[in-house]
Amino acid sequence: MSKKLIVLMASSLLLLSISGCWDKREIEELAFVVAIGLDYDAQTESYQVTFQMAEPSKGGEGGPKVDTRNITIEGKNMIEATSKSFEFINKQNIPGAVKLIIVGKDLAERGMNESLDFYQRLYLLRRTVFLLLAEDKAQDVLNVKLRTKDVPALTLVDIINNSSDWSISPLVRLGHYLTILGRKSEDPVIPVVRPVKPGENGMIYKADKEGEAEELQLSGAGIFKRDRLAGYLTEDETKGYLWLQDEIKLRLLDTSNEAPPVYGGRVVTTKTKVKLETAKGVKGVRFLISAKATIDEFQSREQADNPAEMAPFTYDAEEKMAREITRECEAALAKSKEMQLDFLGIGRQVEINDVNYWKEIEASWPEMLAEIPVSVEAKVQVINTGATFQGPVNSESEGEE
């Protein structure tokens, strides 16, 4: 390599490093904003932006700890709120560490694109940040003082990942939301987060301060008509949505809606395929779900202690689990048709499978959603029953009577 070339390349590197120092800031001067909460106050006609900052500190004997600092700022728009935050925050606000954006109910109902615009333009903010919908106000969620003393935003990120792994609620990132908005035939869905007080929603715990919510729950989802909140999905409908979107990873499933015996199982692999079919001259969409599951719970006095006795139960479990999956999917489909909101992407499936037919019906979408036949066919294969065939037994048939 010639000397000149080496000098040139070295110059390039040096010049680049010099320009990087131009606006440098020391780490202790930075405020690591880990979550942003967006609310709208109709009375004052202003936005309330909550910045949740994680502040590392030395801590005690257990090593370094992370403190939470929240600040809610009112402003006519995001710029004004951000600008105003500098009157209170003694550090440089760095949005590069933002993990999630929580949108309050009032803002979501009003339409959230205008407020998200500021953040989606920020190069420092990643399109991979999670989007959540607060059941009420976003600031209430971020202001929860968790019993674990952890930063709520970071706890929520773990809940989101956990809940996505176990297919409880959809995982929605800012980038995905923007991509869905770009599709003419699909409406977005955003998971719902809420603070939970002791005894609420099946969660029993002892709060440090009586009457305060000290836990967070992620369940259900908000359905949007473009960027406006139009309704909610129940837990079952959300699960149906996940099946139909082929977003199920692992899933715990029980058949308590069916006649006994009741099976509890774990779906370990699943695939949802979509077909456009014509029946009696009418085109419709057919979802075909195939899943493999294990039996993890068998609530029955009838027990089986060998494969031959257990086999009929596994066939029964397969049928019941398939019906359970179908029930959840049909609940989501019914909501979609009832609300005339295509959050399941049925129009998009028509477009993918028969673009010419889509062009015929595109103008009347989503009104036509109620008319288009949609069916679900689920098949489950039980692959094992865990560590045993039968459940715990009482010796010498004691207690059978």
């Binding site: 390349m9 320009s19 993918i352």
Partner: protein, 365 residues
């Protein structure tokens, strides 16, 4: 006279053809061609093939001369001077716009507060020094940097695989073939930029018979490598963002770089990617700086003196500093591409080649 090897020509040509086109290619292709726009990329770069081969054929006939000089013999002195003047103006103007685009890219992303003059000045220092050291060093620079750019692009694409929304690929040909053809037309200037560079660099090519074959193969290779990588990049942006988002994003590749996250271990590597992309920017601006110099030499007969390099750098600096509005800049680049570079390349090169070929046939007849 300085010479570059056939391999250097291949790498330099490919690097110039690639240049900074990896920034706007997806936005333009998907914006004009819709969901199927990625299919337009390879054919659009394919236009560089006939133009490049025509120029190489002329270089064989007129060794050691660039296309402006060849045009003097073929079209007459004053016609050639006129075309040379257009070539000179286009090269300087477009090169300076690209310089401003470097600044725009960095200011939109990682270095938002760095003053304009730092970007423009630093880039010009590098480009000017590169040009002053000669085309051979420029060729070697491309030999080192171009593979890094390709590897960087492939790494970026592969590392965003978890963000793919595969259904964005469908339906294929949903809007028919027409949008794809429009996208080919809109992307065609990228190939023309390359052709205009080749029109100047031919004066430095080796003359041997074996070299000629390598040079021709080199044009093919450059087109296939760059066309394929940029088509895959466009496809990646389609699958990650969808056509509507890809159209909306300024420099989608920058957003793509920010999506690289490997579990909780690796993220925030976009600055490293930008460092690699900067190599492409230096090559592209450098190519137009060279073209400006060749234009000056051919039209005004100026000598290889440092004062002309400084003068050219001064002009680049002023124009580059003038365009500080990123929206205006992108618009200006598009207009220059569509209404100056495209017509100049597709009229001038085939015209000279056609006349030479026609005369040769006449003589043979």
């Amino acid at each position: 006279m300085e010479r570059i090897s056939a391999h250097q020509f291949v790498m330099l040509g490919a690097a110039v053809l690639m240049g900074t086109t990896f920034f706007p290619v997806a936005q333009v292709a998907l914006g004009v061609g819709g969901r199927d726009g990625w299919m337009a990329v390879l054919p659009a770069y394919g236009l560089a093939l006939p133009l490049g081969l025509m120029i190489l054929a002329l270089a064989r006939e007129y060794p050691g001369q660039n296309l402006i000089k060849i045009s003097e013999t073929v079209l007459g002195k004053w016609t050639a001077k006129g075309i040379g003047l257009v070539y000179l103006i286009v090269s300087i103007y477009f090169g300076a716009l690209l310089l401003a685009q470097v600044e725009d890219t960095f200011k939109r992303s990682v270095l938002q507060l760095t003053p304009h003059v730092v970007f423009i000045g630093a880039m010009l220092f590098l480009v000017g020094a590169l040009a002053w050291t000669g085309i051979e060093v420029f060729g070697r620079f491309a030999e080192v940097v171009f593979p890094l750019i390709i590897l960087g692009l492939i790494a970026n694409m592969v590392l965003t695989l978890p963000r793919f929304e595969w259904e964005e690929f469908f339906p294929v040909f949903g809007e028919g073939i027409k949008p794809i053809l429009f996208a080919v037309l809109k992307l065609a200037p990228y190939a023309c930029e390359y052709a205009l560079f080749v029109a100047g660099v031919i004066a430095y090519l080796p003359q041997g018979g074996q070299d000629q074959t390598q040079l021709r193969t080199g044009v093919w290779r450059a087109v296939i490598i760059v066309g394929t990588v940029n088509a895959l990049l466009t496809l990646t942006e389609l699958l990650v963002f969808g056509p509507a988002e890809a159209k909306r994003l300024n420099y989608g590749l920058l957003s793509l770089g920010k999506l690289v996250e490997i579990e909780k271990t690796i993220s925030g590597v976009e600055s490293l990617f930008l460092l690699i992309w900067m190599g492409g920017m230096i090559i592209k601006v450098g190519a137009f700086y060279f073209m400006g110099m060749w234009g000056l030499q051919a039209v005004f007969g100026v000598q290889d003196h440092v004062k002309w390099y400084l003068l050219l750098a001064g002009v680049f600096f002023v124009i580059g500093l003038f365009f500080q509005n990123g929206v205006e800049l992108v618009q200006e680049l598009s207009v220059t591409d569509d209404y100056l570079i495209l017509p100049l390349a597709i009229l001038w090169i085939p015209l000279v080649w056609g006349i030479v070929r026609w005369r040769r046939r006449g003589k043979a007849g």
